[in-house]
């Protein structure tokens, strides 16, 4: 297996190398001064890839059991896990997307950051410790603790795979476009490199490699973003007021960037989006999985504390970076392409679009070498996030669908891990294909959809099965599937898909986000169907709540299979 790993790794490095050279030559016909910058970016990205491949190799050598593969042997500390969780969350989309949003419309960017952040306290108060006490490898372990294994695992695996699929497509398309822009690489090559590397990380290194890739990237990203924010604040003598005043002066929207604008269309959409962001966090499978990598509930609790702090810090940085980009870039025509008649649109005219605001700011405050660093970090960020998603998807297939549903709990550990590795390869290939197919589609709604499904299927089932004694399998199945189906249906019928993708005239579902309705449907569904469930199985499930309750509250009898 190690020989296979080395062969693959060598092939990959060679592959990137060839294309890097080819593209560096081709960059001349674009903006000439970018050629040198790209080589720095590639060199640094190369270093990152080499470093992570070494880690993967070592992780592969020391990963023997299923606990190693799914949960890094339970050997991750609270602080390390906090960094990894923050890393899962600080995707390129949130770094470049939110700073770009702040660049384009100021205050409105803050609404998104806040929504993404406030889910974390909820995860800590209601989910994290119970999850660690009850579960082993996936959140389905927890949801099916006293309910019917087969049915609940099918439901959880479906919820996981749907969330992973939408999230992954959005990341792959974003990755392809970003790398095209930063490195000059063809879209297809970019998507193939990302897909191939994530397969290598997950299939060979499992959770251990995935976690360390995430930790390294989180440190690089936090370091780079801190430097940018520091340089911006230094320029304004560490006075936010001076920065805001200058931004208001140069921004075409003027003072409007300091107040809520058109971002939030109507109150119902605003609240619905808020709920999706807040509770979706508590239902994202690749995040929930991280709670099984620490030794006990106490470490799980600590990791959320560190993660919340790091994520809060990161979003404050992106806010400063967005405003810094306004002040540094908008008065410099070198960062713009002129539109018709030589007129520069100070927002949309930014080279590469508003999502490139942070990247251009890197050049403005740190020169070409730092631009290369930030580009490499952005690439690394995408890699780390897609690897985490792939691992969550592969675990749902092997640990939930294969081991419990198909093999009825009789699969050997070795077989299960092998299935997981095969699944990782398949998911990687499917992600490459889907990334290619969706190249020119609007995928912005997909992350929102992933959060909506997580909030309307995974989260209600998890919360009700652990906290409400009366929850039965039938209730969880009905509520979970209704939440999932209604979330997907409402997104398809909303403006983002029905009008903008399918080209219909008017949206059937009038709001931007379904969570307010689909979450209600899920919770009411679980409650009503459980109440109506008078089967023998429901009686047994009610009776076995006490054992689950004791273990979830105290950790007594909690799985220690992955503490070595």
């Amino acid at each position: 297996m190690h020989r296979l790993f080395l062969a693959l790794a060598a092939g990959l490095v060679g592959y990137i190398g060839t294309h890097a050279v080819a593209f560096a030559a081709g960059a001349v016909d674009g903006a000439v001064d970018k050629q040198g910058l790209n080589i720095a970016a590639i060199a640094m990205f190369f270093l990152f890839v080499l470093g992570t491949l070494v880690i993967t190799y070592r992780a592969a050598a020391s990963s023997k059991s299923a606990a190693d593969f799914y949960a890094a042997g339970g050997g991750i500390t609270g602080f390390q896990n906090g960094l990894a969780i923050a890393g899962d969350y600080m995707s390129a989309a949130s770094f470049l997307g939110i700073s770009g949003l702040v660049f384009a419309s100021g205050f409105d960017g803050l609404i998104y950051s806040i929504g993404f952040l406030v889910g974390w306290p909820i995860v800590l108060f209601l989910i994290a410790e119970r999850l660690r006490n009850l579960g082993k490898f996936t959140f389905a372990d927890v949801a099916s603790f006293r309910l019917d294994q087969t049915q609940i695992r099918i439901l959880s695996a479906t919820g996981t795979l749907v969330v992973v699929a939408f999230y992954l497509i959005a990341q792959m398309v974003g990755a392809g476009k970003l790398i095209q822009l930063l490195f000059g690489l063809d879209y297809l090559y970019a998507v193939v490199i990302v897909g191939a590397l994530m397969i290598v990380y997950v299939a060979f290194g499992g959770m251990k490699a995935t976690t360390w890739v995430q930790i390294i990237k989180a440190c690089l990203l936090l370091g780079g973003a801190s430097f940018m924010a520091f340089m911006v604040m230094l320029h304004f003598g560490f006075s936010p007021e001076a920065m805001f005043a200058e931004a208001v002066r140069v921004h075409p929207k003027g003072d409007a960037i300091m107040a809520p604008g058109g971002m939030v269309a109507d109150p119902v959409s605003a609240i619905s989006l808020g709920l999706a962001l807040m509770f979706g966090t508590a239902g994202l499978p690749h995040i929930l999985m991280r709670f099984f990598t620490v030794s006990d509930a106490k470490a799980a609790r600590k990791s959320v504390f560190y993660a919340t702090g790091l994520i809060a810090y990161f979003y404050i940085l992106t806010f400063i970076i967005g405003f810094g980009a306004i002040t540094f870039l908008m008065s410099d025509p070198a960062y713009y392409t002129a539109g018709a008649g030589g007129v520069i649109n100070k927002i949309t005219g930014l080279l590469g679009g508003t999502n490139m605001a942070a990247v251009h700011l890197a050049n403005a405050v740190g020169g070409s070498l730092f631009l290369g660093f930030i580009s490499a970090v952005a690439f690394a960020t995408i890699l780390a996030v897609v690897a985490g998603l792939t691992l969550a998807g592969a675990s749902a297939v092997s640990h939930d669908l294969y081991a419990e549903v198909i093999a009825r709990g009789r699969a050997s550990e070795r077989k299960e891990v092998n299935i997981s590795k095969i699944s990782a390869v398949v998911i990687g290939i499917v992600a490459i294909v889907l990334g290619y197919i969706f190249e020119n589609q609007n995928v912005a709604f997909m992350v929102g959809l992933a959060f909506a499904v997580a909030a309307s299927c995974n989260f209600p089932v998890l919360l009700m099965s652990t906290m409400w004694k009366g929850c039965t399998t039938r209730g969880a199945m009905w509520g979970g599937f209704l939440g999932l189906a209604s979330a997907v249906a409402m997104v398809v019928l909303s403006k983002a898909v029905w009008v903008q993708t399918f080209g219909n005239k008017a949206a059937i579902f009038p709001y931007d986000n379904p969570a307010l309705f689909s979450m209600t449907i899920a919770f009411v569904g679980i409650y009503v169907v459980s109440k109506l469930d008078a089967s023998q199985r429901a009686k047994r499930e009610l009776a076995s709540y006490d054992a689950q309750y004791v273990r979830s509250e105290t950790g007594i009898g909690a799985s220690s299979a992955h503490i070595h």
Partner: protein
Amino acid sequence: MVASGQERILDNPKFQELVRTRSGFAWTLAAVMLAIYLCFIFLVAFAQPLMAMKVGGGVTSLGIVLGLVVIVSAFLLTGIYVQRANSRFDALTRDLQKDIA
């Protein structure tokens, strides 16, 4: 162990105290977080002129200040919970484990 000692644990006053205080505390904090966040979203949706109001004589608006307050409060609330859990709840759990061992 859980199967045999589970009744004993359920009836143990320490277990009942642990569960009662912790879940009361956790749900209260969750409700506080939800309330702070929904207040913010409601203000964004319904009170845009208020959010645009200037504070401190410069261009900084109330909305930006409140936004930062929400971010900081999210972090503080998790800190408060962890602080309490590390001292009080962990001590109760240890006590309980000693009782039933």
